[in-house]
Amino acid sequence: MDLTYTEEEEAFRARLREWLAEVLPKVPPKPAAADWPGRRAYDAAWQRMLYDAGYAGLHWPVDAGGQGATPTQHLIYLEESEKAGAPYVGANFVGLLHAGPTIAAEGSAAQRARWLPPILRGDEIWCQGFSEPDAGSDLASLRTKAVRDGDDYVVSGSKIWTSHAEVADWCELLVRTDPEAPRHRGISWLAMPMDAPGVTVRPLRTLAGSAEFAEVFLDEVRVPAAHRVGAEHDGWRVTMVTLSFERGTAFVGEVVACRRVLGALARTARANGRWDDAVLRRRLGRLHAEFAALWRLTQWNVSEAQSIGGVPGSGGSVFKLRYSHARQELYDAAAEVLGAESLDADREWVADRLSALSYTIAAGTSQIQQNIVAERILGLPKGR
């Protein structure tokens, strides 16, 4: 057990810090939350800067145009970027963390050449069309159907909760190609252009006020069969491959950010007198321990991924269960520090308190994560 970094890793960190210090002043101001074209341009410009400096697709394999960095280097990258206040991955999330890695692992040479470089350069934005109105936690029950017609699939159905759909160029789409087969065996993975005729995007307003996701209606949309990644009906497996790219690093930046927020909460509470409340103080002390431990758990999971060759253990579910809860507690504590000021929706912590509510829902609800932990790690029987 060791928590020191190698010389090589420290050198990587130093180079990165230097670069961040040099380039961050040149990043334009952040656009307003509702300014979607502005947000897209901002996220794309940052990705381009990463690309030009050789940091794009850091954790992607080299033969996919990535840097082939180790999980630890990726961790360092995310930690340092957050500490330096660099922009988030933003609208490039699906491209860099889901669709891109899927194509890298399962796509043909032509598909890789077509889709990967624009993702790395920030030229094309992807969204993820998995969830449907009637298929959320039970994703494998999805019904959007794709019927083969010559060189195309004709796709009809609807997707929901599609983040960044409004600005995306492409959608990684799960469709049912064989309605007769067992649920997991009749699904295919398609790359669908968002400007294809028959695609209608209807933004949905979240409880935080902004339109972060959308409904996507598909009415006989023609998608070339050449846009199918992996074999026909094999889309479920193809999708699951993507998950192995995440390697426990998904929330690195956020944990760093939460620890900073905790410090700011303490400063505010000391200034406004609420620090005298022992209950609040102890609550902040406990959160300090929680986030410190979540950081260690991240390091543990990343080290594990590195030692077993890049595939994450089931530690991801354990982490997500605790982290999503701790994040909500952090912003509840923030509300206590703010008192009635916590009713001011323009305050940063108030918006974050609202958006924290999605953490126990998105990417597998806490209940589903608990089922996963109980069944896959603890070996408890499936059932109701």
Binding site: E9, R282, L284, H288, W300, R322, I377
Partner: protein, 380 residues
């Protein structure tokens, strides 16, 4: 994917953990545990497990002690003969402490683990000690283990397991002494320096017979306690008290982690076996989710405890103890819940985990102290 693997157990550390587990399973199994310090023959439903006649601790000791002399005897050492300081208790012996096993632990290097090889030790570090203590916590091994580890090399005979020393937090109120009747000597830490994190305190050493105590009915049947009321003679010791307190907290946290991990296994094993409504209760989500949360608590505590063992930082240790205490206590309670009525019996081991967890949570840093220290350390 190549590159160094930082925060994982090394092969040697895995081997140490597995070896310790084997040693404790072989020498300290459930029946032995229950034969000691559990003065009970009531309340065991006949329908599960054959009715056991709880032998007196002494007969049990002879039976299992085998090749070594029976447990009650103390090696020479005059004044320490029987730790007779407990005023009212008629008992001379400590039913929970097995001197033969203690010596075996000594032989195995349990106490001398971190002493340099030149001094007859094993020459390992804090992370290894933490792994070993995690196993001890898992097995509910009774005895002043933290004292043994910290006083090896300080008090003669402790490293080899020949003499048993206790370690008391003299800054606490009340000052509690674990296994008073089993100890030959006691070291008191940090009188008068209460709450001073990082400040140098004082350490005193007393023969067990020179310590006066009032009885204290320990909630943990395997950890007898006495309330220290005074010392007639004591010698000052030149020890790094903040370091000892930090390590005592960390090793206690490691035991809590072991207990927390063990109760997850116990709950899961029961949930798979026990059937109701025609299905294993572990197939019901309400039960499943209790078990999943138990694992989450144990794993979060694990990364905190292991990291604190690597950094040896006071704040990391405080946070690790806080989370490990919580994991041990709450997991034991959930484990009771998963066991249903059986969980509420004396016969099931679960209550032993809960009671020990409560006891350890009060030792070497409470939740209140840790939370205040951690809050205090927030920037600004």
């Amino acid at each position: 994917m190549t590159g160094p693997v930082h925060f994982q157990l090394t092969d040697d550390q895995r081997a140490l953990r597995d070896g310790t587990r084997e040693l404790l399973v072989g020498r300290h199994d459930r029946d032995r545990l229950r034969g000691r310090g559990l003065p009970c023959s009531w309340g065991s439903p006949r329908s599960w497990g054959s009715p056991r006649s709880w032998g007196s601790p002494r007969s049990n000791e002879v039976e299992s002690g085998g090749e070594v002399e029976s447990g009650g005897e103390v090696e020479s050492g005059g004044e320490a003969e029987s730790g007779g300081g407990v005023e009212s208790s008629g008992e001379v012996d400590d039913p929970a402490l097995d001197r033969a096993l203690w010596r075996e632990l000594g032989d195995a290097g349990f106490f001398a683990l971190r002493l340099p090889e030149a001094a007859g030790g094993v020459g390992l570090g804090l992370p290894e000690a933490v792994l070993v203590f995690e196993e001890a916590g898992r097995a509910l091994l009774p005895g002043p283990l933290v004292a043994g580890q910290l006083l090896a090399g300080v008090v003669d005979g402790v490293a080899a397991g020949e003499r048993i020393a206790g370690l008391c937090d003299a800054a606490a109120d009340p000052v509690l002494w674990e296994h008073p009747a089993g100890c030959d000597e006691v070291v008191f830490l940090g009188e008068g320096t209460r709450g001073a994190r990082g400040r140098t305190g004082e350490a005193y050493r007393s023969a067990a017979a020179d310590v006066t105590c009032a009885p204290f009915a320990s909630v943990d049947p395997l950890t007898p306690l006495a309330r220290v009321t005074g010392r007639s003679r004591s010698t000052p010791l030149a020890l790094d008290v903040p370091r000892l307190r930090r390590e005592a907290a960390l090793l206690t946290a490691a035991q809590q982690l072991g207990s927390a991990a063990r109760t997850v296994e116990m709950a899961v094993a029961h949930a798979r076996r026990r059937e109701q409504f025609g299905a294993p209760i572990g197939s019901f989500q309400a039960v499943k989710h209790l078990c999943a949360q138990m694992l989450v608590r144990a794993e979060l505590a694990r990364s905190a405890v292991y990291a604190a063992a690597v950094t040896d930082d006071a704040l990391d240790v405080a946070g690790a103890k806080l989370l490990a205490d919580e994991a041990a206590v709450r997991n034991a309670r959930d484990c009771v819940q998963v066991h249903g009525g059986m969980g509420f019996t004396w016969e099931a081991d679960v209550h032993l985990h809960l009671k020990r967890a409560w006891l350890r949570a009060e030792c070497w840093g409470t939740a209140r102290e840790a939370e205040e220290a951690l809050a205090d350390a927030l920037p600004g």
